[in-house]
Symmetry: C2
Subunit: 191 residues, 2 copies
DNA sequence: CGGTCTCTTGACGGAGTTCAAAGCTAGTGG
DNA sequence: CCACTAGCTTTGAACTCCGTCAAGAGACCG
């Protein structure tokens, strides 16, 4: 089980199994049932979550009441509101489980302690945030240049299992369109 | 002149003037003429840029040849391709000057050296990246819920000087619409 | 003063939305 | 284990916003 965390970290930085085990000792482990929330907007995001098995969904509820999916948290993904986590301010995000989910979680204090004892993790987290940032920038650029059908087929290519694991209306909100439109896109033959 | 850098950093973390001066000694200073590029896609982004006076523009050129403005770099903004800067990989971004611009710049090695000698900057840069990340996420959410006119008026509210300083077709590309559409939005009376 | 770059305006078309209703499906309790 | 229901998906028709194409007006620079 700990292998997932090792894989995730060693993919980005040079690190030994022992160091990851030490790091892992700062985490706690828990499960959440489908449809339950890990936190909601207005609360402080106290933990960083690492998905071991299952599926989470990160979303905003804007002033107009629109539900906008920002990100899915599949296995081996990190989920949480970085801003709230590090600043201690209230979060605008919500995180719910789309499947029964098994995860590790790391409190803010333990994050600091872990970084003090394993300094090379500093680099890991910088890389993690950077990657999240670049990914979001690229998604933004795609919204401007690809139509909904292209975005849908690209998503399915990257993440074939999303179709069977995520309800269509959440996929639609992630793509920035309405469920009806996604339904019509799917009706048309695949490219 | 150094005051700007001090303001920018001390707004986010506790730091003394002396420490900022020390930090500043790792930077070099330069100017760039309007329409010149600081770097273009295919190159490695070797520096982080801090705008003292003037205006930069960060943009992608996608496969379809579309020019997509990702960010403007007004005074006191940090500009660069974080991904390329830290990874040493080629950048996909371009940065050009929209006005004659005076800036500080920091090479990758000097960044590391500076962080070693002033460890609290580690925190500053994490906050900087985080903020950029959160901002991009929120922009994405807005694209999905606000129409072009709302996005335009919100932008002008946050940045009134953008109208006089940035050509309309760049504002349009930042908003994700065509110049013609922005022209029509402007024709309609302000809310 | 001429040329190029930028902005405006008009007419038309297309992608996605909205509203509404009907068809499916999966989860629940009897 | 089946039947019922609530939630999800599909479909149709009308509409809206924005894009495209094209032409002309205006601004800026050498």
């Amino acid at each position: 089980m700990s292998e997932l965390l090792y894989k995730n970290i060693s993919d980005r930085i040079d690190i030994s199994c022992e160091e990851v085990d030490k790091f892992k000792s700062y985490f706690k482990s828990d499960k959440v049932k489908k449809k339950r929330h890990l936190f909601t907007s207005g609360e402080i995001c106290k933990y960083m979550y690492f998905v071991e098995k299952g599926l989470l969904r990160e979303y905003y509820l804007d002033e107009k009441g629109e539900d906008i999916t920002i990100q899915f948290g599949f296995e081996e993904h990190w989920v949480g509101d970085l801003y709230s986590y590090f600043s201690g301010e209230k979060s605008n995000l919500n995180v719910e489980a789309l499947e029964d989910t098994q995860f590790l979680y790391l409190a803010r204090d333990d994050f600091e302690r872990a970084l003090l004892s394993i300094p090379k993790l500093e680099r890991f987290f910088r890389l993690l945030i950077q990657k999240a940032y670049v990914t979001t920038q690229q998604r933004l650029a795609r919204i401007f240049t690809e139509d909904a059908a292209e975005r849908y087929y690209n998503l399915v290519k990257r993440r074939p299992d999303i179709i069977s694991r995520v309800p269509q209306y959440h996929i639609a909100s992630f793509l920035g369109i309405k469920p009806q439109s996604l339904s019509r896109i799917r009706k048309t033959a695949t490219i």
